[in-house]
Point group: C2
Chain length 315, copies 2
Amino acid sequence: MRVVALAGGVGGAKLVDGLARCVSPDRLTVIVNTGDDFRHMGLYIAPDLDTVCYTLAGMANPETGWGREGETWTVMSELARLGGPTWFRLGDRDLATHLERTRRLQEGESLSQIVSAFCRAWGIMVKVLPMSDDPVATIVITRQDEELGFQDYFVAQRCEPEVKAFRFEGVSTARPAPGVLDALSEANLVIICPSNPWVSIGPILAVPGIREMISRKPVVAVSPLIGGQALKGPAAKMFREMGWQPSPLAVAHYYSGLLQGLVIDVSDIEWAEEIRQLGIIPEITDIVMHNVQDRVRLAKEVMAFGRKIVETLTL
Amino acid sequence: MRVVALAGGVGGAKLVDGLARCVSPDRLTVIVNTGDDFRHMGLYIAPDLDTVCYTLAGMANPETGWGREGETWTVMSELARLGGPTWFRLGDRDLATHLERTRRLQEGESLSQIVSAFCRAWGIMVKVLPMSDDPVATIVITRQDEELGFQDYFVAQRCEPEVKAFRFEGVSTARPAPGVLDALSEANLVIICPSNPWVSIGPILAVPGIREMISRKPVVAVSPLIGGQALKGPAAKMFREMGWQPSPLAVAHYYSGLLQGLVIDVSDIEWAEEIRQLGIIPEITDIVMHNVQDRVRLAKEVMAFGRKIVETLTL
């Protein structure tokens, strides 16, 4: 079975790591959000691509959910001494990624070529693709109609401004990165990882051609919300501010028309029936991933659930 | 007595440090070569400015003659892993300087404003000025008429190509940085530090207006050559390839029309008479600076020698 996973940051990266450990690498493609990408100090920074790749390479920082394990902060502390910007934390190891990516972009390499080269260097066997090689920038529109770049909202303002809407700048003319539509067209199953629907999966689905291709495929998602909360990040807060009670049902609504199955946490069993009434099959399990064993267990369950759905659809 | 010192890299930085320790900071201005400056991985790198500032701040690496003391190489080793360029060694501490300088340039600050801010942050009291805020690039023209950017020649090709000429790209339209001509006009004495005449002092003198202003002042130089050799760098090799026997006499010829006095090493006493015949007063002492004590001793001797020359000229 050929699988495509859509992923954003931490939660998505963990499930992708689980999938990579139980699916043959030539049968798994990961499409990653680049709407969070931005320029900082002249460097091209791709937070979700890095989180996914660092996690797959076993180099992610398990404490922070971003950046590198065993990170050091020499550059940052010297930068602080010079009065430079320190709101976006750049670790020494992490910085090498940004420097080399920026250099290669300047030399004319595409983001997907660079990701591919980095994956080779880091020993990542599954195919990781940015959603697009063209620039797409997630803009958060606040209740006060202020437009904030995503990292400004997310890091500098700690997700505090109330959200009214999102805009994915550049997405209407962005093309799916080479390999994205092929992987989707060959896929037997699409897995939407437990990433923020509004700002991690939303931008991927907004790239012209991607949503349409996915809508022809069996799709299962894993809820990014548990008991009304996101394990990390502002997903629950965003659902609330967008007028939805944060729950797996809201997730099901968000993905309606696209999903055949939704994996929800045992603590959310109360929502199963309403999800089923939307024509989406709920699968109930423990979706919290504390460690690598959890990632593998959940990935196996998601794969089994997906297989069941594929078989049902085939019948 | 108001003093202006012209300096390039290591040797110049050492004498400047000695001068800074025995001249009142409001009476010492250092004008630094920027012809070696270049862009690498998108970063604006200013090797001579950094060597001078790191040395003045007591942060220079005494082993290498460039970069920072206690330097770490985390970024570099991760960069190597990604197949990035490693020919130009970027230490973690050093990198912060380049990142912040590049960021400020992008924001519209001038190089001299940035140097001034960095000096404040690093506790440097004497005034350090780049020769120009405008881009000037030292180009090495080889025997085979190949044109090499300075860092390509100096670092990547280890000064191996034979030199035929030098060209300072952009110098004809470069303006002295703010403060340079004022400092020179107010100076009672100009000291040419023991830096490479061809590629460290030459570019400074080539900036329109600087040589003319210096030619009206008492000037003493410290020979960058000792016993036919440079302590560091390709100065001797360059003199040879340009058709001069490398010696303090060649240095005196190089600066002819500009110098009143030249400080040479005791081991070069044989050249004293010929230097005198050029109308330049030789001062013989130990010009090797092994440690900070040597820097201070030489600086004091240079100042005393300069004072004597100023008095002679005044009489």
